[in-house]
Structures are given as C-alpha cells and as structure tokens.
C-alpha cells in the first residue's frame, strides 16, 4: 500500500512532466495538469466459496467505478451515468450498450500506458452487447489478461491499455496492474485455495481527461 502511494506521487510528478512537455510543443494543451491516479484492491466479486463443480463463485455482482470522480459507485446507481466501468471477476464492462444507459465504450489498446498520448484517430470504440461481446474484450489472451492454466494464475497481459469512453463521453486510459489482493500475484507454488481467495482484487492506474479531448 505504501509503495502504491509513493508511486502515485511519482506518477503525479511524471504527469506534470508530460504536461510541461506538451505545452512546450504547443499542441492542444490541457488547462489543468492531468494526474494519473492509482486504485488498489478494488473488490470485484471476490470469492465466497467453491461450487460443487469445483468452480469458485462470488455474489455475482459488479463493482461500479467512476473514473471521473475516482470513486466506487454504489450498485444502486448502476442504471445511471454515474459510473464508467465496472468489474466482476475478469469481466470488465463499460457504461454502454446493454450494460448501462451511458454513452460509454472502449477498446483494448496494445502499447504502453505512458506512450499513449493521443487516442489514434482511426480507433474503433466498441460498446457492450452482453453476453456475446464487450467493449473490453473478455476471455483469456483475448483482452486484458491471460489465464496460465498450469499454475492457475491470472496475469494482466503486459502492454495492454484499456481505452475507455466514459458515461458522459469523455476519455480515459486504464492500465490493470494486478488481479490479486495487495497487488501481489501469489507464487506459482502457492496453494490453489490461496490463489482463489486472493483473486478478484483489482489494482490499476488511470488517467482521465476531463476536457473531452482524446489527448492525455
């Protein structure tokens, strides 16, 4: 937790650095410095038990999050524009399509978080059409994560950035950093029970652009 805070501070400095650079380059510079924020241990339908099938199960509820306000949104507000993305296990939905009433959407970008300074003009924002397709592609090795069957661990794929259009049509970029409690992936040799109990805790960082532009 301490490291996360220290890192947030570091990102703050770094983001200011980027901002100063872009100002020098005289592009469409934002008026206020953008700050990369970090979220730790966002609970995403954590495991309640192991079903008879051997599969773990949770309560089946999404955890809703507002990128604009950097805050968890109560599920009673799920039918509003107050949230932008929501997490349930490895499923990530956006406030779009049949997931919510918002004007959201998104896609998974291949590249580095810091290198993504402008959302490419030819990008296609997808919307959710549960259960067959999602803006943030579901499934192992298809979207943001890979399930490593031999060691029974879920790892975010390096070099993947979730580009999100928020419920109100603004833009943000999100990097999932870890899927396990405390931001620490259990060792490959840890027990399966340990691996199951500690999963579904999201650590991620994001940058929200409030001015509606696609420039970070």
């Amino acid at each position: 937790m301490k490291t996360v805070k220290v890192l947030s501070f570091f990102f703050l400095l770094f983001s200011i650095g980027i901002f100063s650079c872009s100002k020098d380059n005289n592009t469409s510079a934002p008026t206020t410095p953008l700050v990369t924020k970090s979220v730790s241990d966002l609970v995403a339908d954590t495991i309640l038990g192991i079903a008879a099938s051997g599969q773990p199960y949770g309560a089946g509820k999404y955890t809703f999050f507002s990128l604009e306000n950097n805050a968890v949104v109560p599920s009673s507000d799920s039918a509003t524009n107050k949230w932008d993305i929501a997490f349930r296990g490895t499923s990530i939905i956006t406030n779009s399509g049949n997931s919510g009433p918002g004007n959201g959407g998104g896609f998974v970008f291949t590249g580095l978080f810091d290198d993504l300074k402008t959302i490419p003009a030819d990008s296609t924002f997808k919307t959710d059409n549960a259960p067959s397709s999602y803006a943030i592609t579901a499934g192992s090795n298809r979207g943001w994560y890979i399930y490593n069957a031999p060691v029974n661990l879920i790892t975010p794929i390096p070099g993947r950035v979730l580009v999100v259009r928020t419920a109100t049509g603004k833009y943000a970029k999100v990097e999932i950093l870890n899927y396990y409690k405390g931001g620490v992936t259990p060792a490959a040799t840890a027990s399966d029970d340990d691996k199951l109990r500690k999963q579904r805790f999201f650590t991620f960082r994001f940058l929200f652009q409030p001015d509606g532009s696609k420039v970070f």
Binding site: N148, T155, P158, G159
Partner: protein, 675 residues
Amino acid sequence: MFNRKLEEVVVTATRSERKLSNVAVPVTLIQQKTIRQSGSLRLPDILAEQTGLFITQSFGKGVQMQGLSADYTMILLDGEPLIGRTGGVLDLSRITVGNIKKIEIVKGPSSSLYGSEALAGVINIITDRSNARKLLADIRYGRFNTLDASLNGSTRIGKLSLGAFVNSNSSEGYSLRPNAVQKTVEPFWRLTSQVNIGYDFSERTHFNLTTRYNYEIIQNSITVQNLGSLVLSKGKENNRDLNITPTFSHRFNDKLKTTFRGYLSRFNAVQSLAVKDQKTDYDDQFKQAFYRLENQTDISFSDNHMLNVGGGYIQEYVQSNRYDSLQTKRSNQVGYFFLQDEWRPLKKLSLIAGLRFDANSAYASVWSPKLALQYRVTEKLRINASIGRGFKAPDFRQLYLNFTNIAAGSYSVFGSLVARDEVLRLQASGQIDNILPVFEKLTDLKPETSTGLNIGAQYDPSEKIKTRINFFRNDISNLILTDVIAFKTNGGQIFSYFNISRAYTQGLETEASWQLHKSFNLAGGYQFLITEDKDVLDAIDAGKMYKRDEQTGISSLLARKEYAGLPGRSKHMINLKLFFESPSRQWFATARAIYRSRFGTADIDGNGVINRDDEFADGYMQLNVSGGRNFARGIRIMAGVDNVLNYTDPENMPGMPGYNWYLTLSLDFGKLKSK
C-alpha cells in the same frame, strides 16, 4: 573409453563404414563398455551423460540436441527409424541398452541421407549382432523395486548365424509428492525381445532378418475433480511395437556393393481408463504402421572416390480415435532417392556432397542437400566443416488431429487438413462464437526446415589426449505451432497448426579426453547454447514486446538482453567423467557428473516469453557413481548409485527421482563352463 588402439568405425555419418577420424561431420561414439560400466539400463540414461544432449520429459523421455526439441532428432535402430511418437516425442525409455553394441550420434542436419526428422541430427543404436557362440545373463535390482533382467545368446551353425535377446524391465515407480494420489512415475513393466537370423550364401552374399518386439504396460491412476469431489480413475497404458527388418546384400566386386532393406514396423498404443462409478470407460487408441523398401548401392571408383546411391518407397498408415475414428485409416506415401559423393582430391582434403529428394503424398516435396569437408592439417589436427538442410514432415497429428478436451476449458485442437470442416460444422450447429482472421490462412502445412552449419576441429596432441571443438548454428523456419482459429460459444478455444515460427539455435561444443594413467581416463565436455525465436526478436526490435514489473505491475518494453530464448534450454551444460580400470581389468569404477545451468520453464508475466527470474527452473548437478569386479568364470558384480546428491525438482524434472541405487550380477555362461 579404453582400448582406442583399434581405429573406431562409424556408419551413420555417411551410411557406409568410415573411420571415425575421417568423418567430416560431428559424430559421438558410445561403446558398449562405457554403457555397461556406467550402469545404464535404458537409452536416456546413457544419452544424458553426453555432451550437448539433454533428456526432456514431455510425452516420455526425448532428447534435445543442439538446442532443438526431441521432435527433430531421428532415432534409428540398426539403421531403421523407430516409429510411435506421441506429441512429436519418441519415448526413449522404450529402448533397452542391454544388447547395444554401440551408439552413434551424428549432429547437424542429416536429411540428405535420412529424410524427414533428421533435422537436429541422428542417433543410431546399433545392436550386438555378432555371431560368436555366447550366452550372457544380467540381472539387476535397485531402488523403487526396479528389476531388470536380460538374456543374450548367439551361435553359428555353418552358414547360419542365430542371435536372440530378451529383456524384462519393471519398477513400482515413485512419488515426488508424498500426498498426491497419482505417482510421479507409475508402475510399469517392459519386455523387449529380439531375434536375429543371418545366412551367408557366399563370401559376398549375405541375408539377415531381425525381428524385434517391444511390449510396455504402464499403470495409471488419475484423479479428476468432478462436481466438487475427487474422482479416482484407474487405468493402464499399453504400447506395443514390432519391427521386422530383412536385409540382403551382395558385393559384386571390390568396387560395387548393393543392399536391399525391407522394414516393417507397427506401433500400437492403447490407453484405457476406467472411471469409478461410471459404466463407460475412456479408451484412446493409436495405431501406426510403417513399411519401407530401400536399395543402397555403394560404388568405389578408386580409393579416393566413392559414391552411394539409393532410393526407396515408404507407405505409412495411422488409425486413431484422436483422428476422427478408429475406422478411418490415414495414409502417406513417400518416394525418395539419395546420392552421396565422397572425393579426396588431395591427400589432406576430403569432400562430401549429398542430396536427397523426398516426394510425398500428404505435403510438399523436399530437396535436402549437404556439403562437408575435412582438411587434415597435420596428423594431429583436423578441421571439419559442413552445411546441410534438414526437414521434418508435418506429422499425422498436425494434419488430422481431432481432439476436444472436455475437462480443461473444453478447448479443441484440429489438424490443418480437417480444421476448416470441423469449425464450419460447429458453426452450423451454433457452437462458434467468432472465427478469427487467421482461420482464412489455414492451408496445407509445409515441412519444417532448417539450415545447419557446423565448423569444428579435432586436435589430438598425443595418443593420450584427444580434444574436439565444434561451432554450430541451425536456422529453422516454417516451424509448426498451434494458433487459435476460433472461439466457441462456451469460451473454449479452437486451435489448429500453422507454419508460423522461425527460430535459431547456436552454440559451441567442446570435448576432451585424457588417459591420465594406465588405469584412469578423464573425459569432459561443455556446451554453450543460445536459442531464440526470431519472431520474438522482430517484435522486440519493433517495440512491440512488453514485460511487467513484478512489484509495481507497470508494463514497459522488453529489451533484447532480457529475452532468455526458448524454454527448456540451458545456456551451459557441463559433464565430467572419470573412469577407472585396474591393470588386471578385474576392478572398475566410474564417477560421472552432469551440470546444467538454469532453464526457462513457463511464462508467468503474460508476454509469452521467458524473461523473468521466476520463469526459470534452477540449474543443478547430477552425480552418478558405479563400480564392480570381474571374477573368474565370467562372473561380474557391479553396484552403483545414480544421483548421489539426491537432487529433485518435482515441478520441472518429474523424471528425475532422488538417489537411485542398484546391484547387478552378470554371468557369461561360456566362460562358466570352460573352466
């Protein structure tokens, strides 16, 4: 290791008898004496102690040569290819060393002589077919209730020579994880029998018939988690192979010799699993048949110019319920010819040019050329260089596999020739979520090919010291790997095979042996190895390969120096072997150490490559010792301990039990009687 006074002769490198020192390609020769004194039982035991070879453990024990996977080394038994690979690997544990006269290992592509599979090299196991009158028995008992017994006899009646060999090998297996229901190695029993009949029509005309039958039964107990409870299934695996090899040779005169070889081989594998409380058993059957007729003619124009020409026809069948159904017979026909010209234009210089053409019914035809030269700088120093092409044909699995794993994520793997129809069939029944663009690229598989370069030198400063160094580089293209072609509505992935990958392996191998004293011989070897996937290198250079920081979880670009190459390869491998034999030859002892540095196991950070420290298995050293005494009347007693240091790594080296002791009693009945 001893008695090098007689010039050693090898056949595998050129398909004709040549002095080892005159061969222009890297060849390792393992003599029966070394095998016996080392206390080896099965082929992998002795191969594991050779420089640059590593025994892999996936679908049985295979051998990694020059950094190439087990799939790419051809295994010959008396010059004929063994069949029955599972997942591309021929389980070398099926081969007993009890009747082996010598093993010849040729490194570098040898497809110019042997065709498909001889991409990394060739291992030729030459059995003892001497027709001296003898009867030998060996019995060995060791840890894990391992019992191995052999009987080997031969005789000669006029023009007829007869030989027979039988070996039984069994063990109760072992557990590296005491709490697991399933043993790491399950109990097994293996039986090998070989009968050899030779007849000399004249000094010039010989006929030989060898029949070998191998039977193997392995117990299986598998636990599967089903509906929250552990279900224990009992089963067995049954492998049978039969090889029949008639050979007829005639020498017309000093300059011309011709040999006809027939080869019939069948491999039959059955895995049956009886699931408790379930009426239907799970059965998996695999039947393979390989028939070959071949002629080789050797012409000597002069002492300095020799030509080998040959050709043959192969008919191959596979039936399996992994491919459609047992009733469907998949077949392949291959017609081939080869030429090899060996010419010594100067006293010091030998040149070899070889070429082979393989025409196949199931995939594209292949030309495999090879060039080799040897320059004898002085009596003591020889320089060798060779370059050749090797190939491995797509196997039946890659063409016809039709496999769906219901237990683990319900993924499917379809061979490239059946994938299109299978996916369209699933789509028609509404089971396909989406089809990926790569589906459109499904096409006939091409053989995997390599170009191999070997440059080396042999330097023997004295009778007692021999040294050898060899640089190698193999560039492999059209590697066949699986890729996802579609997703099922239930989330399961569908894979098929593509020629998608390119890689290289390169390294340096060096060996030395030193007759320290009349009774002591010290031998050592070292291999330095680098292997890399060229597509990964391209991705790194394009700035498209990422890694993830273990602490912060933040992604960054992967640098070339962080990429550790192909998994399962050690950068450094060292062996050091000390052999002792008392002047009277009554006592003997050996100590052999093998070291390998750490090797990549599996990707953990999600980028698909080995780059992080936790993605490696530790390096280790294995120390084996043995010793024994030859008594009068042909009695020999021997004892040994393999893996004295008791090294184990259940995760990555399941085939390596802890220390393993044994006692062997050998009898030579001929000597027993004569005294």
